[in-house]
Symmetry: C2
Subunit: 694 residues, 2 copies
């Protein structure tokens, strides 16, 4: 049976990639519009290309060093020889996901703007197709990587299941490291450019967003592509692959057979196919309202989710055997929880609901109150997701037989994460089309297109904020579940190594090493958020100074008679973000090893639990505060509380600017952090067991 | 021996109270100054009195309800009959601590202002003496409550040690509930008034701080007394008593004798006596610099700490026996950690160091960047305290023989908290004098005293910010250690109840109930911070509207020809803060019972661990962000980055306003929250064991 399963996974991967290629060709057939539009799009593309090229150079050095370290460890007998290579492929595919996404996004922005000249539906089709290319590239490459490695390790090298999962967890580590670089680097770039452009352009000079007189405007649009697209692509590749391989690893422990290991891959492949069907339902009529647009997108995702829920049942039944069919409910719990977390996110961040509307009202009493208000909206919004995940974990654990065998229960938790991410192909499409629409709006503004065009791209963009919120719900929820699964994998891994079992004999929460590990782990997301926010702050300050300089020194710039030096801002953002992205990633890799060497394996388990709990909370807090500020500003711009240009609006712009690094740099990077910590711990487990102090 | 120990504790209590009375009489001998000063001071006093009276009425209802609930549980056999009464006395003494502190502070503010007319040293003496009254009232009442109950339960009712500690933990719960009301209510009052006064007066109307034309100016000064003084008094009473009784409870489990139980009380009594000596060293010469003032205060606290460190050694040696003398190092670790956390706090929040200076520089690029910067300073500042507490816990655990018996190790952790708080008498004096100096400055301004006077009160006030930072370090550090000790007490308590041992048989961190409890517990400080910040926001908005209304409607107010309606602002703040303080406290009491009834005792343990870790981090983050903004603003006011009135200063004022509820409402309240959660869990343990679902 296992051969058929791997074949099916491979088919899923192939279908996703073929669908992505066909969709890409369809998108490319659209026209890029006027010469000016082509020129603008080309310079955005050029900036994004240049950035990624330089990013990959730095990442290449990191991967080289890690390859050598892992190689030495493999030679010393701490790891199997496949591990260093698995690490490389994980990083490679993760980077490729981001790269492809960025490519298609930068080729679609002008096309979307041009399509919006003809109509809203046409614009939606182009932007959504671009998002689909990215979505299905991510899942396709993920499944491809998994199925190739599985095939090689199982059928060519004939490894034992434990060794297969060990090697596969290492490509997870490669993917996570790459994702962290991409998220942090891209996140710093995009927010430094955004904050810089807004602070000087909008607040000081009083010119509109995306005004071609603003020297940071191209950098801002490049940032959308390298941060919100390339960063997100690498990030979700990591989430997807991480959830599947951690479930596979726990399947081996729970069932001691290859079927339980292959089930997560099968589910992922089913998800891909159902998602492809879903994309065909996304279309809307001309002059569609915001609500109709949203329902067009929801139709696609809901349809996919329902089919997956139906098809998953026979899959579980046949693969695990009829005595284990209740595990199906773990997958269902994951699917439902993802949707619910998304809805909770939407409630707290959409201006259709009370929290964001009330937040907009706090601007009446000034900047300070809207800042306080936004922080408390974010903090309060952690409650529902925590309860949803708590119920999901309990359900997944007990329906999978956790009461009899805890490893079966943990397998159930991991499958819930796979269930949650099974619709990733289409949810990512609805998520990734946002930045494309955003860019299209920028091009419409810069190319001086008709006002109607900008209105249409704005409608698409604003919708993108809501779908992005839902997408973030999936990413954060699955990160928590995957991190718990990886923690369990870590314990399995340690137990399987000689001398390891005694190191984790006492995982009682009152054991001081566990407790201290917990404290340190809980602290990491705070420190990580601080580091990344500082990076954005520093990078933004340099952009602010450069934009101010240009306004002052380039004669005729404000009057539109001279052209700004866009390239210098792009270059500045590139340098700053690459310089700043190194430290956080290195911290994430080094800390678990250091904690392990001092506190031992029980300390590491405590650290992972603490980091998961506090990271989950911080990620939700920061993402939702940022989202609420963003939409409160948009709500005010719609005409309430004095509308654009009023004091309330100015206060809201400050809120939005504070929210930028919250929701697009620090928040999402924390999701990756908590998984990377576990994967590093797993890969270096043997080292820690042999050399730890406590 | 035990009789002598309780006698000694009683003597310590008596000495503290006598010293407080004598100091109070000394303070009252100073003159209140001009008639106008007397009038202003009287109206502040009147407002504070009126507020506390109404607060106590509401608290009275809460305590009545809880008394009935505990009474019913006692009748049903879940609790000993002493418990409901112990609960009441804890609340009573905590309230009394706050009340006395508020009284002396409101009688000393004008006296301090008047003394500053004569000289800085004289001003320092009056303000510091007022602080000392409060400091020694808190520790005196704490020790009195402990020694009376200990005497009654042990020598009159002849209870078993376990039952003694159970009853004593209940008065901890009473003290914590009262402290939470006082901190939250007072914190909302003071910050609503402060934010309201600043936003309209300073930012919109452009009049200086404490200008008599500002209608919220009296409310602002009342707020300092009911929040920073009465709230802090109740809060630290709770910390002090909580650390002693949790150590006593663990002493019983570890040594099964009354000596180990009495040691924490003895150490506290030694601390009181050493602190009294320390106060005599606090004096300075005229025209002393900021640095000399600080060294005058440090001399007092350092001297006290050193003597305690010396005297504690023979105390441990004789009470616990020579085979346990290494436990002394646990106490020392606590003392040293408290100082180190204070220093780390100072580094991150004082404008003598890089973080706050860099933060001030971020104001150059606007409001958004100083907000982002302050948040990241706060988040980054969590790292050092976490490491310090981690090392302290490890040291305290292992020097106390934790490797052999975990209950001895946990006793060591609890003793470290007692060690940290042993200097509370004097550290609280250096902390509580800040609001007195702050008020004195307000009175100097309102009474139109010479500029020199205001400069002197400002010097005292600004120093107060630094000592307050150190004080907060002690409060937060001890809260974490005490919460860990209470968690251990909870496990002891559950094990001692029939049917309880099996409920906590699996405290493994991978047990899903523990894990989910951990997630929920970690979420609580976020939710609690959100609730209290929202409360401040709502209350502040109503003040803003009232102040705006008065500026608009009272003719001649801005020209100084008409008097503002101060009383209406005081009344507004009173009503708003009392309305808002109920919800957070009820949440803190209800949640641990609900979590227990659903997830069972192992879920409660997870919750306590999660709340302690994330609460510690949130409290430090919020306190230090707030402190850094406050001092960055003061640093700018000293003349850098354009000084007062510049755009940088305006940005810094927004930062400071955001920081207000951070550092004076939400942050400190979280310290109380994490202990109250444990105490409620302990008191309701029997209920949970009998009726929980899981």
């Amino acid at each position: 049976m296992d051969k058929y399963l791997v074949l099916f996974t491979f088919i899923g991967a192939a279908l996703a990639l073929v669908f992505a290629v066909l969709t890409a060709r369809k998108v490319l057939r659209f026209s890029e519009g006027t010469d000016l539009m082509k020129k603008i799009s080309a310079s955005i593309r050029q900036g994004a290309n240049a950035y990624l090229k330089r990013q990959y150079k730095i990442v290449f050095i990191f991967f080289g060093v890690m390859f050598v370290i892992l190689g030495v460890m493999a030679i010393a007998g701490f790891l199997t020889p496949y591990v260093p290579f698995a690490f490389l492929t994980g990083g490679f595919f993760s980077a490729l996901s981001g790269f492809v996404g960025m490519k298609i996004a930068t080729y679609s922005n002008a096309r979307t703007a041009n399509a919006c000249r003809e109509g809203l539906n046409r614009g939606l089709r182009v932007a959504f197709s671009a998002g689909s290319v990215m979505g299905f590239t991510v899942v396709g490459l993920g499944l491809l990587d998994i199925s190739i490695w599985f095939f090689l390790l199982k059928f060519v090298f004939h490894l034992e299941p434990q060794d297969i999962t060990s090697a596969m967890l290492t490509f997870g580590m490669g993917a996570s490291s790459m994702a962290l670089f991409a998220r942090v680097g891209g996140g710093i770039f995009t927010k430094a450019a955004d904050v810089g452009a807004d602070l000087v352009g909008k607040v000081e000079a009083g010119i509109p967003e995306d005004d071609p007189r603003n020297p940071a405007v191209i950098a801002d649009n490049v940032g959308d592509n390298v941060g919100d697209v390339a960063g997100m692509g690498a990030d979700l590749y990591e989430s997807y692959v991480g959830s599947v391989i951690s479930a596979s690893a726990l399947g081996v422990t729970a069932f001691h057979n290859i079927n339980a290991m292959a089930l997560p891959m099968l589910l992922a492949a089913i998800g891909v196919i159902c998602s492809i069907f879903g994309t065909f339902l996304v279309k809307t009529k001309e002059g569609a309202s915001q609500k109709q647009l949203l329902s067009a997108l929801s139709r696609g995702t809901n349809f996919s989710a329902i089919i997956i829920a139906i098809v998953a049942f026979p899959a579980v039944y046949f693969v695990l055997g009829k005595e284990n069919w209740t595990i199906y409910f773990a997958i269902l719990a994951g699917l439902v929880s993802g949707v619910l977390i998304g809805q909770s996110t939407e409630y707290f961040t959409s201006d259709s609901y009370k929290p964001t509307r009330n937040l907009a009202a706090t601007s009446e009493t000034g900047t300070a109150t809207i800042i306080i208000g936004g922080l408390s909206v974010g903090m309060l919004s952690t409650l529902m997701p925590i309860i949803i995940v708590a119920v999901c974990v309990l359900v997944a654990y007990f329906v999978s037989g956790g009461a009899q065998s805890s490893s079966m229960g943990l397998y159930g938790i991991a499958l819930a994460a796979v269930g949650m991410l099974s619709t990733l192909g289409i949810t990512l499409a609805t998520d990734a089309y946002g930045p494309v629409a955003d860019n299209a709006g920028g091009i419409a503004e810069m190319a001086g297109l008709d006002k109607k065009v900008r209105e249409r791209t704005d409608a698409l963009d604003s919708l993108g904020n809501t779908t992005a919120a839902t997408g973030k719900g999936f990413a954060i929820g699955s990160a928590a579940l995957t991190a718990l699964a990886l923690m369990a994998s870590y314990i399995d891994k340690v137990s399987s190594i000689e001398g390891g079992a005694e190191k984790i004999a006492n995982l009682n929460i009152t054991n001081p090493t566990v407790l201290i590990g917990l404290f340190i782990g809980a602290c990491l997301p705070f420190v990580f958020a601080a580091l990344t926010m500082n990076s954005v702050g520093r990078a933004a300050q340099s952009v602010v100074k450069e934009v101010r300089r240009q306004f002052k020194e380039i004669a005729g710039l404000m009057e539109g008679k001279a052209e700004a030096d866009y390239a210098s801002c792009v270059d500045l953002c590139t340098k700053a973000s690459l310089r700043e992205m190194i430290m956080p990633t290195v911290v994430a890799v080094v800390v678990p090893i250091v904690v392990g060497l001092i506190l031992g394996c029980s300390g590491v388990v405590g650290m992972l639990a603490g980091a998961t709990a506090s990271g989950f909370l911080m990620a939700i807090f920061m993402s939702n505060s940022g989202g609420a500020w963003d939409n409160a500003k948009k709500y005010i711009e719609s005409g309430v509380h004095g509308g654009k240009g009023s004091d309330c609006h100015k206060a809201a712009v400050v809120g939005d600017t504070v929210g930028d690094p919250f929701k697009d740099t620090s928040g999402p990077a924390i999701n990756i952090l908590i998984k990377l910590l576990s994967m590093v711990s797993i890969v270096f487990a043997a080292l820690v067991i042999n050399f730890s102090i406590l």
